[in-house]
């Protein structure tokens, strides 16, 4: 079996706050293969964005800290790099797209100069070829009349166009890994579809791996090959997208899928997950989903569940599932 491109092992990221220690990411492990789109799904506060920021080592310090774990890109642990070495990776081998394109573009520079900035730092291109490369990138993300657009300011572009420019910057240095953190949440439906198709096409052309962070299970179904479901700082289930939708095992995943309001068919009634999302400052001992789970057993309230392997690429952390899996064996 070939080595995965990215391997995250037992990552723990914590924040010190006025109200005590917040374990935003608490022991997360997953891997991303070459040329794969890996989804991280979760609700607000589940730790999905902190996970992606940890990979880039962009956790705001000193409040936040990566406490333990390993993040290996092609076998090299990013957490052991010096800040200077890490800078070569950000924007170089790893590209990033954030949710709000207006705040990730600098309003005081033209979009052309912002694309060229990354190219100048990470590649050996100079002078005219820099500019030509930038125009070519804008063309690849489907921006009409790219040569003219080079001189435009970010505020002159629409939301969808801005996000395309951010996309152009993130792929400018031919990264091996692209982290897209809710890239289409701020976009309209038809523009979102255009953008997701663009990501698909870029991936086909360059064989790059994408980590797609989202709260939208529909977007996962549309774009991803495999996905992890996060709840309260931990991954509760990892599976291929097909398995995740056809054979979900964790009660939270099942609950999420049941509460999806489907566009294909009118439902008479939609089951919702009872209760409220957990407070990270005050998590229950044992399984964090236990207070909302309808299959809860005594052991769920005492110990956090171990990982159970349900099949190839299908991992789940749930005592109820484990018991049944053992029974079948």
């Amino acid at each position: 079996m070939t080595q995965p491109l990215l391997k995250v092992t037992d990552l723990k990221t914590q924040f010190r706050t006025k109200w005590g220690l917040v374990k935003a990411v608490d022991g997360v492990s997953f891997h991303v293969k070459h040329g794969e789109t890996f989804g991280i799904v979760g609700e607000s506060g589940s730790g999905k964005s902190v996970t992606s920021l940890s990979i880039m080592r962009l956790i705001p310090q000193p409040a936040g800290r990566i406490v333990s774990g390993a993040i290996e890109l092609d076998g090299l642990n990013l957490l052991e790099l010096s800040e200077k070495e890490m800078r070569d990776y950000r924007g170089g081998k790893i590209g990033m797209i954030l949710q709000d394109p207006l705040s990730s573009l600098n309003p005081l520079f033209t979009i052309g100069s912002q694309i060229i900035e990354g190219l100048r730092i990470h590649t050996s291109l100079k002078g005219r070829s820099l500019k030509e490369r930038a125009i070519d990138l804008l063309r690849r993300v489907h921006i009409p009349s790219p040569a003219m657009r080079m001189k435009d300011w970010p505020h002159l572009l629409s939301g969808g166009m801005r996000q395309r420019v951010v996309g152009a910057i993130s792929i400018s240095c031919e990264p091996e890994l692209l982290i897209a953190d809710e890239p289409t949440t701020a976009l309209d439906a038809t523009i979102q579809l255009q953008y997701l198709n663009l990501l698909k096409r870029i991936q086909k052309e360059t064989r790059l791996s994408i980590i797609f962070v989202t709260h939208d299970l529909g977007a996962v179904a549309y774009l991803c090959h495999r996905a992890a479901v996060m709840y309260a700082g931990r991954i509760v289930e990892t599976a291929t997208v097909k398995d995740l939708f056809d054979k979900p095992a964790h009660p939270y995943t099942i609950g999420l899928l049941n509460s999806m309001q489907k566009v294909e068919k009118k439902a008479d009634h939609i089951e919702s997950i009872k209760g409220q999302p957990p407070n990270l400052k005050n998590l229950p001992i044992g399984c964090s989903f236990a207070p909302r789970c309808d299959q809860v057993k005594d052991i769920c309230k005492e110990k956090y569940p171990e990982e159970t392997e349900l099949g190839a690429d299908h991992l789940v952390r749930c005592w109820v599932v484990k018991k049944e899996a053992v029974k079948i064996k």
């Binding site: 609700e43 607000s44 629409s158 969808g160 166009m161 309209d188 439906a189 038809t190 523009i191 979102q192 579809l193 255009q194 198709n197 709260h215 939208d216 299970l217 529909g218 977007a219 179904a221 549309y222 997208v241 097909k242 939708f245 609950g255 999420l256 049941n258 509460s259 999806m260 309001q261 489907k262 566009v263 294909e264 068919k265 009118k266 439902a267 009634h269 939609i270 089951e271 919702s272 997950i273 009872k274 409220q276 999302p277």
Partner: protein, 332 residues
């Protein structure tokens, strides 16, 4: 059934001014342009469309937060501008709103009791005991604990805050509630809770909803009728299932095709509507959609299409009425 709300040819233009000293009107943003629809008691009408299509402005016009530029809004048959003081007072109780972001729509300085009771105190003269029992009742109905009244909004999660906003709307016995993206900001698991709550409340109190949203999944689940808006005007309106299964306007098709699938098996490749929504400052001549429509003919660029009834209660404004677009017809 007689409509509770009747919107007739309503327009809302925002003037754009230029010049520092001698300000003059340089153009007009046609946020809402000639829209007509009605809502009967107990019904949910959804308005869908992309950002900037004017759906929220329609809500604000009905709430009387903005004056109309043209046209009339009738409530129980009475035009809004002809209402006298007492009728206006009744209207303000009868029409309530729940907005998208419950953090900015609930005052952070007021306790939940004051927030929920405010409308009641202003609109009706009740004793303290009567108010307390009404608050108790309404907290029960939206599924909040009784001790919530002592707390401030920031102490609650997003879903609970939205329940507070619903309680505030409900306490004055409204007939119509404008739900402006009321569930869009909530987490998936909470969204279903709130949508189910809204459905239960509607059945119990025979409420009418104007459900303004962009998420078609939610819209299909909750609405009886759907109006599709594009660039300030309605392009198609009709019974909800008709809109999903027997639609006519190419834009409706594009919008439904752009919705994310609920299962990987439903993924269709390369179904894309090209281009972006033009500026409302500069609405295209003829049909508004002609710049993005793959069907556009000369007539579409010259003549604005009229609303035409193509089925019972199902209207659409398109010159290409024969030949409804099928799923996936925007194939690149």
């Amino acid at each position: 059934m007689k409509p509770i709300l009747d919107v007739q040819k309503v327009k809302k233009y925002f003037p754009v001014e230029r010049g520092a000293i001698f300000r003059k009107v340089a153009g007009q943003i046609k946020a809402v342009d000639n829209i007509s629809f009605s809502i009967v008691p107990g019904e949910t009408l959804a308005l869908v469309g992309e950002s900037g299509c004017g759906k929220s402005t329609v809500g604000r016009l009905i709430l009387n937060l903005l004056p109309v530029t043209g046209g009339t809004i009738f409530f129980s048959g009475i035009p809004l501008e002809e209402m006298d003081r007492s009728q206006r007072k009744i209207y303000r109780s009868a029409v309530q709103a729940v907005f998208q972001d419950p953090m900015s729509s609930l005052s952070p300085r007021m306790r939940i009791r004051e927030i929920i009771a405010e409308g009641l105190v202003i609109n009706q003269s009740l004793s303290r005991n009567e108010i307390d029992s009404k608050i108790q009742q309404v907290l029960d109905q939206v599924g909040l604990p009784q001790d919530a009244i002592k707390h401030y909004p920031h102490e609650f999660s997003g879903g609970q805050r939205q329940r507070i906003a619903i309680a505030r709307a409900l306490i004055v016995d409204p007939k119509l509630i404008i739900l402006d993206e009321a569930v869009s900001a909530l987490d998936v698991s909470i969204q279903a809770q709130i949508v189910n709550l809204l459905r239960d409340l509607q059945r119990e109190f025979h409420l009418s909803y104007l459900f303004i949203a962009h998420s078609l999944g939610t819209v299909r689940y909750i609405s009886d009728r759907i109006g599709v808006m594009y660039l300030g005007s309605l392009v198609e309106i009709g019974p909800a299932e008709e809109i999903f299964t027997n639609l006519h306007h190419p834009y409706t098709r594009a919008l439904i095709d752009a919705a994310m699938p609920s299962h990987p098996d439903f993924v269709r490749e390369d179904v894309v509507l090209a281009g972006e929504v033009p500026s409302a400052l500069n609405v295209p001549e003829g049909c508004r959609f002609n710049t993005r429509c793959p069907f556009a003919k000369d007539v579409c660029r010259q003549v604005e299409p009229e609303m035409f009834e193509i089925g019972p209660g199902h209207f659409t404004a398109c010159h290409m009425l024969d030949g409804a677009p099928e799923a996936g017809f925007f194939l690149n």
